[in-house]
Symmetry: none
Subunit: 129 residues, 4 copies
């Protein structure tokens, strides 16, 4: 996995876990891969993975069962709230960034539409993706 070296890797790993929960790759109650396995998958040091998981456990998103492994919480309501928060946060960040480049609300929408359209074309052309 490729990481943006401007933001802490452990932080990006947290985002990665959120991502997998949102896509359903990690269902409520599901068991995460072993820490060492995750480290291999992400080509990152075990300590770094551990740090990310610790924070996710601290906030309740994950639960750790000693000797068994780490699991996604089964509290569906918590997950629902989490998803809402993540989306709203991302929308706000995206909006602020684009607005910060002096784009009007309309411009933001239309340029995003244009971007997506163009992106689809490129994706169609490509074999890999």
């Amino acid at each position: 996995m490729k990481f943006d070296d401007k933001v802490p890797i452990y932080y990006q790993i947290k985002q990665h876990v959120y991502h997998e929960m949102m896509t359903g790759a990690l269902q409520p109650g599901a068991k995460l891969p072993a820490v060492r396995q995750l480290a291999l998958d992400l080509t990152v040091n075990v300590n770094t993975v551990q740090r990310a998981l610790s924070e996710l456990i601290a906030e309740g998103t994950l639960v750790s069962q000693r000797g068994k492994g780490n699991f996604v919480t089964s509290d569906q309501e918590l997950i629902a709230r989490l998803k809402e928060t993540l989306i709203m946060t991302q929308l706000a960040v995206a909006y602020d960034q684009l607005h910060g480049l002096n784009m009007s609300d309309d411009e933001i929408i239309t340029s995003m539409q244009r971007y997506i359209k163009q992106r689809e074309v490129q994706t169609d052309d490509s074999i890999n993706d």
Copy 2:
């Protein structure tokens, strides 16, 4: 100014300069505040400001005149290219983040529209903004 402690301050200062160039607060050829003044304004160390400016100078966005100050480039074409790059980069980042939360292209557009609409309402309600 408030900084996100997840990303290097010098990097955020660069973004800040880009922002001011895009909004027109910093016109082509305009003189930036003195480095020491910027440091005071942003409440960071002089060297941190210097580092941000150094990179902007290295890439040609700013030009430094010894003993006089730092200035926005007068090369309007370069600025135009820069703006294009910044916007496309932000669109890509925003899209990737939202797409990463398992949102479809349509959902991204509509939720962004909803977010903006809702934001306008809040803004109308508020006296400050």
Copy 3:
């Protein structure tokens, strides 16, 4: 190491790295000494070394691996291009300087030949070198 105090130390450190790459002391992919070690070797501050390396990293000559160290790029083509650039730049600088002292093209060549010949003699006389 002795530095010329007329030109920035960090700049001379860059040249030093280029030099070692050209002589083969630093092979493609090779690991550089730790930043703190380099600082000791060159008897300069860690930050000064860091600044030099940052620029080399920014231009792709070096790659940084967090927690592991700094490495010479493995992109041999990039290195080849770099070498070409360095040589042409030095030739141009040398020519301009000598030409600036009112030497004709022929004089430049012949005096350089004479200089080298004389230098060889001195070197033969000396035990050290």
Copy 4:
């Protein structure tokens, strides 16, 4: 005039004076332009010019006559020695730089010859030069 911002301007101004003495633009005993005029010619601050001249006066290359101006020394022997020194220094610097890029003595000579040949072609092509 264009200056290399990696080395002090006052130092480059000294070189400039040497250069003019070597080319004969400044004959022994000749009067230099007024400091303010030099500053204008070189698009540089008066203080910077003054600093360069002070050092040249201190080393005897120039002599200052209060109220009259600055003059090139009339000591022809001194000038001859100066020229010799400048040339040998430049040859040594050029050699060291090229040798430092791992070029053999022969390579240095032949690549310099090639450089000059190529340079003549370009110059012929150009109207300005």
